[in-house]
Amino acid sequence: MSEPATKLKTLTREQMAARLAADIPEGWYVNLGIGAPTLVANYVANREVIFHSENGLLGVGPKPADENIEPWLINAGKQYITMMAGGSTFDSADSFGLIRGGHLDLAVLGGYEVAENGDLANWSTGANDAGPAVGGAMDLGAGAKQVWVLMDHTTKSGSSKLVEKCSYPLTALGSVTRIYTNIAVIDVTPHGFVLRDSAPGVTFDDVQTRTSAVLHRR
């Protein structure tokens, strides 16, 4: 892919998380993946959104103050957390049963690549640079009603992470329904990628230039 001619002003990780959070309806049950997706929780304060954590929690609340840490309360990223009133705890089989059984409204995951048919690659770069590990990514990819991916639009070297076909090992087949990048919001439809929204000052052509698959207008 050729280097895009112009340099765009891209969204920060926080802005990307806030943009995604704005689309989560009140009352949804949501799992946030490790890393950038975790930031989404900071931008839903005005709505009752119920966060799930794979280690067996529903109703995850914000980080505790240091003096209020409960040692038996961590999230899937192994950070200390609090629970909302109404929260519940359960075992790992129930936790993944509710994922696999299609009860979770949304999983927000990071991604290495998303293909135009919704295939997701986010668990391994193939070379196993950081060692092999999958955690709950394949279960969330296969089970959640909606899978939204939060990731940069391109790699550091400028190649598109939105592709015709994933080159990295797959996490789940045809599961991604929407992608929030640092320049655009893109729906994954039976017809392929459809531009839903773009960052301030970013045009359709800017997004298409940085996407190595056909981008459709709404």
């Binding site: 038996w72 961590i74 049963g97 060692g131 087949l173």
Partner: protein, 204 residues
């Protein structure tokens, strides 16, 4: 088979005992095997563990497992976390195998039987049994009834029953009847041994 997620619900003192006993040739079934602290480090470093069955053998504070794996000194069966949980639950519940959509069409499903069921590609997964399960509970009584604290539940209840011998360490020992029947999270029928070890907060 080892309960716990991260360091919560992990039977640290039973692991110390495993090290002290010098058991070798272990196949370790646990969600995490990254090992940044305690006896898990010793078990891995001394080569007592031959193979790990695990969803997330990576740890931000330690490259020990990855280093051993790269050097070919330890085996790994990588299993998606929900499939790991369900394979263990299936073992406990007498289900020899089941079909699941998780990992269908991926590397982790590639060597397994795959079948389309109701229009969806699924993978055949086998129940996962162990010789011994080591668990941590918050409360236990002499019948082996258990309760867990908050996120300490995780893999513990499903591993109870998936092994020939289930040993539990508990923070609190209670009399029969102190836990109300509807407060018991794991009924004692699954439990063979309980060790009372009030050790306080885990180190994270």
């Amino acid at each position: 088979m080892l309960g716990g997620f991260g360091s919560v619900g992990l039977p640290n003192q039973l692991l110390d005992g495993l090290v002290a006993k010098g058991v070798r040739g272990i196949t370790l079934i646990a969600n995490n095997a990254g090992a940044a602290f305690g006896s898990m480090v010793t078990l891995l470093e001394t080569g007592a563990v031959e193979k790990v069955v695990c969803s997330y053998p990576r740890n931000a504070q330690s490259t020990l497992f990855v280093d051993l794996y790269r050097e070919g000194k330890i085996g790994l069966e990588l299993v998606p976390q929900g499939t790991l949980a369900e394979r263990i639950r299936a073992a406990s519940a007498g289900i020899p195998a089941f079909f699941t959509p998780t990992a269908a069409g991926t590397q982790l499903g590639a060597s397994k039987e795959q079948r389309e069921i109701n229009g969806r590609l699924c993978v055949l997964e086998q129940a996962l049994h162990a010789d011994v399960a080591l668990l941590e509970a918050w409360q236990a009584d002499r019948w082996g009834n258990l309760s867990y604290r908050l996120a300490g539940r995780n893999f513990n209840p499903i591993m109870a029953g998936a092994a020939k011998l289930t040993i539990v360490q508990t923070q609190h020992k209670v009399e029969l009847g102190e836990m109300r029947p509807d407060e018991v999270m794991t009924p004692g029928i699954y439990i063979n041994r309980v060790v009372h070890i009030p050790y306080g907060d885990p180190v994270l």
